[in-house]
């Protein structure tokens, strides 16, 4: 026979079994899309900085040059050095000190601004996160990753005063952009730079370089030396290697990678499982027809070809569509992931777009080939018999047992059905289990990360803070303050004003009096925060926070030990213990000027400030030392039911413009992380639901005649839907019950891995987030996935014409 009959047989199968064809195509579409996304997440998480660096054409070296010592031609000539593969610049740059509007407004740390006409370019291709590029004088685009130690959020439209320049020009924030190199704190149009340079300040410019060989610090040093040698002496005044940025970014990214990878792996495994189940199930469902084809003369090879084609055709179409879908999904999801990682942009690697559809097609081929070959080997009569109802005897005991339950008969018949096709039921259970486990994992992860965010911000324990103004030149500042916990709410934010600045003692009296008088105050404690000190045995400086009073309520989560209870006791963060090799119970020696203070470590707290090199203690521990510390802020706990914004507003009005009163909020990245978790979980649940849909479609097709009989003897549409849903409800419930401990185990594995990557310990309370009620609700996740996946085909079954169903064999 010619190939024509094979094609006709395959085409006939495709058109005759439209629902099955659509389901195969749909499952491949979603599974391929999910796999593209999952593999992209895994691939991009392996070295997200490197991916972003490649995509954004990062610079191996950001150099600051003196444009007076070298001419433009000399600077341009560095492009032609043999070591250099690309160069950009010179971009004029200047370092300024921005301030918030209003007299005596909040002063920000010194910020480097670079003049660039556009965000794009051959090197350091900037990614606009919001707003637009500066188009004229008076506009600024801020970096989304400002100077270290500061994460002040700056809404678009904020007007910054450049206080370091005569005339105090203003710049309006029109955009937020990301540089993979963190090459500047902000960008302005090139003509703006000259206006921002204070008189007497030397000119500076930024050059960006990519080198042929820059894999190691030694390579980069050699490249920089080659550039410097090509320019007049003293031209290159400073350089920053991408390796240092990468090290910093990698330490920021590392904590998030485990959970992203976990979702990615679950997605891949689930997709493979469901595709194999769908395709092989479709071929098995066609055994009767295969038998008929064989009985009219089709050879085994032709049968295999027909059925492999019949399953393969919609699968290939679905695959190709899935690649498009995956790339479309990747835009928001990889965008969210890039935000979490802080790398500006992530893309689907090209090899993923090739490997996934090829892999899926191979999987489809194998899943179709195996049952097709089996059918090809059967005789026509055997194939016809195999294609009818499941093997006699399977599930009978289940029907007998379940029939005795005091449940509606359609329910018990439905619950017994999976036992007739145990292999299919097992695969369906596995798919639902993965989806439900992902839900359990996601719920726990979200709660844990919420506690992490709270542990970092202390926003529940101390929702309001008062910052004491310093009398340093330039007006009130935030020197020595935990700037990472400040949220400045736009041009209207901040209440610091001009005029007479109080002394420390006056400030303390004024603040404490106001706090005692303010309704809603529950606790307050004066804090000397962020002072850097020396500790014996450590080359790096350690951040010291000293409390002037009881601070046990301030919300620091204990990892081990206890909060200090008296003088001579300190609590430290995990990084301190790791870097010093100390443990709880050991003593440390702190140096303040000429005096040394010894104290015992009584507890390990959850704190990532200064990369975990942090000490917390009471003021009394430092008594007698020449520590130079002063109260620079007050942390305030409120009575239940007190509105923090209203409290802050009232307190600020009472204290006056010399003081900054702020509400304490969580890191703005936290909602992005929650959004990413939610999106990934939903996608996995949808894939699991599609697996259920396929199972029910196959089962309704197999049992269409039985459905006709049920309806003929009086089963109503509602009873039919109940029965069909119950075909998978029992499986879903079982999967959900198993998924809960599986998801909890995954959570308990991933969280510590994330914490270890962040070089921070994990308080037990951050792991123990699953309450009894939650576990009970999560156990129903599998049931929900199963019911949702089954409802559509159950409705079709209920609406099917009884007379037609009875005629089906």
């Amino acid at each position: 026979m010619s190939p024509g009959p094979v094609t006709r047989a395959a085409a006939g199968g495709l058109t005759r079994r439209r629902v099955q064809t659509v389901v195969i195509g749909l499952v491949l579409l979603v599974s391929t899309g999910a796999s593209v996304l999952a593999l992209a997440l895994v691939a991009d998480s392996s070295s997200p900085f490197d991916h972003a660096f490649a995509v954004q054409h990062g610079a191996h070296v950001v150099a600051t040059v003196d444009p007076v010592r070298a001419t433009s031609a000399q600077l341009a000539a560095t492009r032609r050095l043999p070591e250099v593969t690309a160069a950009a610049g010179a971009f004029a740059e200047v370092t300024v000190t921005p301030k918030m509007p209003g007299p005596g407004g909040l002063t920000m740390p010194p910020t480097t601004l670079v003049g660039r006409a556009s965000p794009g370019g051959p090197i350091d291709d900037l990614t606009l996160q919001s707003g637009h590029w500066a188009q004229r004088l008076g506009q600024i685009v801020l970096s989304s990753d400002p100077s270290p130690g500061s994460s002040v959020s700056m809404p678009l439209g904020t007007r910054l005063i450049i206080s370091s320049v005569p005339g105090k020009p203003t710049l309006t924030v029109v955009g937020i952009a990301d540089s993979v190199n963190s090459s500047a704190g902000g960008w302005v149009v090139p003509g703006e730079i000259a206006k921002l340079r204070a008189p007497g300040t030397p000119a500076a410019a930024q050059m960006l370089f990519r080198f042929r060989s820059a894999g190691s610090a030694a390579d980069v040093r050699a490249d920089v030396a080659a550039v410097a040698k090509d320019l007049p002496p003293g031209t290159v005044t400073g350089t920053e290697s991408y390796l240092a940025v990468r090290a910093q970014e990698s330490s920021n990214i590392a904590p998030w990678v485990p959970f992203v990878v976990a979702f990615g792996v679950i997605g891949l495994v689930m997709s493979v499982l469901i595709v194999a189940n769908v395709v092989s199930g479709a071929v098995v469902a066609g055994y009767q027809r295969i038998g008929i084809l064989k009985s009219i003369g089709f050879s085994p090879g032709q049968v295999v070809a027909a059925y492999t084609s019949q399953a393969g055709a919609p699968a290939v179409v679905g695959c190709l569509g899935g690649v498009v879908l995956g790339n479309l999904l990747a835009v928001p999801i990889l965008g969210q992931t890039a935000n979490v990682y802080g790398v500006g942009t992530l893309h689907v690697p090209v090899w993923v777009d090739v490997a996934v559809p090829l892999g899926m097609c191979a999987l489809v081929g194998i899943a179709a080939l195996v049952p097709s070959l089996r059918a090809g080997r059967l005789s026509a009569a055997q194939a016809i018999a195999a294609g009818r109802a499941p093997r006699q005897g399977r599930g009978y005991a289940a029907h007998r047992l379940l029939g005795r339950l005091a449940l509606p008969r359609p329910v018990t018949i439905g619950l017994a059905a999976p036992f007739a096709r145990p292999a299919r039921a097992a695969v369906t259970l596995a798919a639902i289990l993965l989806g439900a486990a992902a839900v359990t994992f996601a719920v726990g992860l979200g709660q844990s990360l919420g506690r992490v965010a709270e542990g970092l911000s202390h926003s529940s324990a101390e929702p309001v803070q008062v910052f004491i103004p310093s009398a340093s030149p330039g007006g009130p500042g935030l020197v020595g303050v935990h700037v990472s916990r400040v949220h400045v709410t736009g041009p209207q934010g901040g209440t610091v004003g001009p005029g007479h600045l109080p002394t420390d003692a006056q400030a303390q009296r004024a603040v404490t009096a106001a706090l005692r008088a303010q309704p809603g105050t529950a606790h307050y404690v004066g804090v000397s925060a962020g002072q850097m000190i020396t500790v014996a045995g450590l080359s790096q400086q350690v951040a010291m926070t000293a409390f002037h009073g009881d601070a046990s309520w301030t919300g620091y989560a204990m990892i081990s030990g206890h909060w200090y209870t008296g003088p001579g006791q300190v609590d430290v963060a995990t990084g301190f213990l790791t870097d010093t090799g100390r443990t709880v119970g050991d003593t440390i020696t702190m140096t303040f000027g000429s005096k040394q203070v010894t104290a015992r470590i009584v507890g390990q707290v959850f704190d990532t400030h200064n990369n975990g090199l942090a000490i917390l203690t009471g003021w009394q521990t430092l008594a007698g030392a020449d520590h130079g510390l002063a109260v620079d802020q007050y942390d305030i706990g409120l009575r239940p039911g007190t509105s923090a914004p209203a409290y802050a507003q009232a307190l600020g009005s009472k204290l006056g413009p010399a003081y900054l009163v702020n509400t304490n909020g969580r890191d703005q990245g936290f909602p992005i992380v929650l959004g990413l978790i939610g999106t990934l979980t939903l996608l996995l649940a949808i894939v699991a639901g599609l697996g259920v849909l396929n199972t029910v479609v196959l089962s309704t097709r197999e049992r269409v005649h039985d459905l006709g009989v049920f309806k003929a003897i009086g089963m109503t549409p509602r009873q039919t839907i109940a029965m069909v849903v119950c075909w998978v409800a029992g499986t879903g419930l079982a999967a959900g019950v198993i998924a809960v401990p599986a998801g909890i185990v995954l959570h308990h594995y991933v969280l510590p891995v994330m914490a270890a990557a962040a070089n921070v310990g994990l308080p037990a309370s951050f792991l123990n987030v699953y309450g009894g009620a939650e576990v009970a609700a999560l156990a129903l996740a599998g049931l929900v996935i199963a019911v949702v996946g089954a409802l559509l085909p159950a409705g079709w079954a209920a609406r099917a014409r009884t007379a037609s169903a009875l005629r089906a064999e």
């Binding site: 018949i413 039985d706 003897i713």
Partner: protein
């Protein structure tokens, strides 16, 4: 006496251009009658049965059974109608292979919400009456054709329907077994059970039905009127 079944000018088309499967048929069946619907293959007799049972809807015309307008009922209404008023017997039995004989018989009663004890008592009564009570825990796959048809009859009778519809009930049986089943149906009719029997076998129609209706190409044969027909 009011007709148990009244079919009035019923037409059924499966597609707009083709010949109707049933074309303008009018028919009345009195309570207690045993009516045979005869015709060649493709004549529309099974379609007519399906319309009476509410398994299909007429394109036009009305179908009334026990005073209920079957053609107007919703799907749920039709299912409840079949439970209460109709018992169906099929040529190929249409038993559920993964349920025991007893469970097959109980099914319509359970779908109706009949209490378990009452349903089991009724099933036991029918199994005994049909002489298949020893097979109550067996599965249909293990029974002979005649035994399976008895199970199907028991299932059809469990809810005490007003009308029994049998579509070629002996078509898949050997002659002797067919005779047994036919006699069974006749005995049921003799005890007052209304019966509509679809068959292409004139002997069966002659022996077990009190009236025969001929249908050809979807229409009642020439010379037959709905109210008259041929009575025995």
């Amino acid at each position: 006496m009011d007709a148990l079944v009244r079919i009035s000018q019923v037409t059924k088309r499966y597609d707009n251009d083709g010949r109707p499967a049933v074309d303008g048929v009018s028919l009345e069946i009195a309570p207690g009658e045993a009516v045979a619907v005869m015709g060649p293959s493709g004549s529309g007799k099974s379609t007519l049965l399906n319309l009476i049972a509410g398994l299909d809807r007429p394109t036009s015309g009305t179908v009334t059974v026990a005073g209920e307008r079957v053609d107007k009922l919703s799907e749920t209404g039709l299912a409840r109608f079949r439970r209460r008023r109709i018992g169906m017997i099929f040529q190929f039995f249409n038993l559920l292979d993964d349920l025991t004989v007893e469970d097959n018989v109980l099914l319509p009663a359970q779908l109706s919400g009949l209490r378990s004890g009452q349903a089991r008592a009724r099933a036991a009564e029918l199994l005994a009456a049909l002489r298949i009570d020893r097979y109550r825990n067996a599965y249909p796959g293990r029974l002979s054709g005649g035994e399976r048809q008895r199970v199907a009859i028991a299932r059809a009778l469990v809810n005490r329907p007003e009308l029994l519809l049998a579509d070629e009930p002996t078509g898949a049986l050997d002659t002797a077994t067919g005779e047994e089943i036919g006699q069974l149906l006749r005995d049921l009719n003799a005890s007052g059970q209304s019966l509509v029997l679809v068959t292409h076998n004139p002997d069966l129609a002659a022996r077990y039905a009190s009236r025969t209706v001929q249908i050809v190409d979807g229409r009642l044969a020439d010379g037959q009127l709905a109210e008259l027909g041929v009575r025995r």
